[in-house]
């Protein structure tokens, strides 16, 4: 049941995308999301989608894993496609009672689905190719200006590192607890919603208790290794903007401008 969650999982590799500076990757992901926001017609969304596919190819990570990562929100995708279908204006091409489907409705639901998929793929590229520590390191570095207003950026980054580090541990633990409860006769597939929610309690309680226990242990282990949140730490990995990073930035600027131009162009009729 929990086996198919791949969100937030770093897959070590040596591809071009892996080698990008994590700060650049995060900024580029944000730019990509903005570009998606502007992609209001087929042409622009196709440009974005093709470039996303190209990046996925460059990341050298099995497509299977990307597809897996969309499974988590497939319901949300169907729902938004479904709702968008009925909210179009213009001539209805299809009408039953008060429900009418317009060309615009079809277009916007296709766009919405593509957009969500692109969004997931972009964040997956970021998550698959960047180690959680790199991500927090990048965020730490991007947030550095906040230190001027007395925000302990280093501490926030540490919390994020630990949270990310323990996700697989807790997933594994949840699996174990579920098997343990199942072996004692617990049912997790009851038809009644309320019963199903109630059946989560015997999973969540042990999980919480164990989380606190782990937190105590971890705090002790960190103390043993001289961690002091108020002190500035050095880092083994230092970030440097290299040549590929500059290429990536140029590529993104071109893409972003391209998307905006495309979105201003007249729509190509597909349907």
């Amino acid at each position: 049941m929990l086996g198919n969650i791949v969100l937030g999982q770093y897959i070590p590799g040596n591809s071009l995308i892996h080698k990008l500076d994590p700060r650049v990757k995060i900024l580029l992901s944000i730019v990509y999301m903005m570009a998606l926001f502007f992609a209001w017609n087929y042409l622009s969304i196709i440009v974005v989608t093709l470039s996303v596919l190209a990046l996925m190819f460059l990341s050298k990570i099995p497509v299977k894993l990307y597809i897996k990562s969309t499974k988590v929100i497939i319901l949300f995708m169907i729902l938004s496609a479904f709702l968008n279908l009925f909210y179009g204006e213009g001539e209805p091409i299809f009408k039953i009672g008060f429900i009418s489907i317009t060309q615009q409705g079809i277009q916007s639901s296709i766009l919405v689905v593509l957009r969500i998929i692109d969004l997931i793929f972009i964040s997956s590229i970021l998550m698959f190719t960047t180690s959680p520590n790199d991500i927090t390191f990048a965020i730490e570095s991007l947030m550095k200006p906040l230190e001027k207003i007395k925000v302990n950026v280093q501490e926030i980054a540490m919390m994020m590192t630990i949270a990310l580090r323990f996700i697989p541990t807790f997933l594994e633990e949840t699996d174990k607890i579920m098997s343990a409860q199942k072996s004692r006769g617990a049912k997790f597939n009851d038809k009644s919603m309320i019963k199903r929610i109630k059946s989560l309690i015997p999973i969540l309680m042990p999980l919480f208790i164990s989380a606190f226990r782990r937190a105590c242990d971890l705090a002790l282990a960190m103390d043993c290794r001289c961690y002091d949140s108020s002190k500035r730490r050095t880092r083994m990995k230092t970030l440097k903007i290299g040549r590929i990073d500059i290429f990536a930035i140029i590529f993104l600027i071109v893409l972003f401008v391209g998307v905006i131009i495309c979105s201003k162009m007249k729509n190509i009729a597909i349907i």
């Binding site: 070590p12 180690s131 697989p168 782990r214 043993c224």
Partner: protein, 283 residues
């Protein structure tokens, strides 16, 4: 050998509690020595471990680590640099999501420059034979491997002493062997002082010194061959005998004149063969 840790009449109780968990501990650990502390659950051995790197400080008495008094706040940082502590659960002491970044955590806290950290991390991973796993995620490793990463994490801080608090108790036999082999090698090759806290007798055989604790006190200490002969003290402290001692002990009780000083299977077998051939005791 030079003395490294000096424990002088240390007593410890938690605030608001009346019972002393440590009740007057006196001992000395020498530089480069491999010491094993044995005792049943609740005898205070883990509490003692936490005193060795100033996680806990004594209620009475003093501990000196390489001459530094652990009760003084200003020494804490220095002591933790000298003494690394490995805990029981391998999962709960790994901080980062990649092996090498976890090993770098300690040196990063010590504010060591980046290229020096790189060197230390590589050396530490090589020392525990985990170098080829440096890019792996910790949760994909076995228990023994995780514990070796934890040891590397401590090694990268260049400690003079490593304290392992039941570090093998959650591992399978294979993992236990990996960890034991690693710490023995560190002790022999790099002259690292090792304090191993355990309730497995088998791990104590290789030690230079064995300390047996019971009810917050040191019951006895000495060389493994001296300690393990004293069956009554072991049984009294709630410890299981090693299989070879158990066998010799039972044979002796039946009236066979055997020495109990054989420590492992091989020595035990030799002792019995010798006896059957009518020769003198070996050990």
């Amino acid at each position: 050998m030079e003395s490294f840790i000096n424990i002088n009449n240390v007593k410890f109780k938690y605030e608001g509690s009346d019972t002393f968990i440590l009740d007057g501990i006196n001992t000395e650990i020498k530089k480069g020595e491999f010491t094993v502390i044995l005792g049943r659950n609740g005898c205070g051995k883990s509490t003692l471990a936490k005193h060795l790197n100033a996680i806990l400080t004594s209620s009475e008495g003093n501990i000196f680590i390489d001459g530094l008094n652990s009760s003084e706040e200003k020494n804490v940082y220095e002591i933790r640099k000298k003494v690394g502590l490995i805990l029981q659960n391998p999962d709960n002491q790994i901080v980062a999501g990649v092996v090498e970044e976890d090993v770098a955590f300690g040196p990063e806290n010590l504010c060591i420059p980046a290229d020096e950290i790189r060197k230390r991390v590589d050396n530490a991973l090589k020392a525990v034979r985990m170098y080829e796993y440096k890019d792996k995620a910790p949760y994909k490793l076995s228990g023994g491997q995780k514990q070796r990463v934890a040891i590397a994490g401590v090694l990268a801080m260049k400690p003079e002493c490593i304290v392992l608090d039941e570090a093998t108790s959650m591992l399978d036999p294979e993992g236990r062997e990996e960890v034991m082999e690693t710490i023995l090698r560190l002790n022999r090759e790099q002259n690292t002082t090792i304090v191993l806290i355990t309730h497995y007798m088998d791990e104590a055989i290789m030690a230079d010194k064995v300390i047996i604790m019971d009810k917050g006190k040191i019951k006895t200490e000495g060389k493994p061959r001296e300690i393990f002969t004293d069956v009554s003290i072991l049984k009294d402290s709630g410890l299981a005998l090693t299989q070879s001692t158990e066998l010799l002990y039972k044979l002796k009780k039946r009236g066979y004149n055997l020495s109990l000083k054989a420590l492992n299977e091989e020595e035990c077998a030799k002792e019995i063969i010798n006896f059957l051939e009518g020769k003198e005791c070996l050990y």
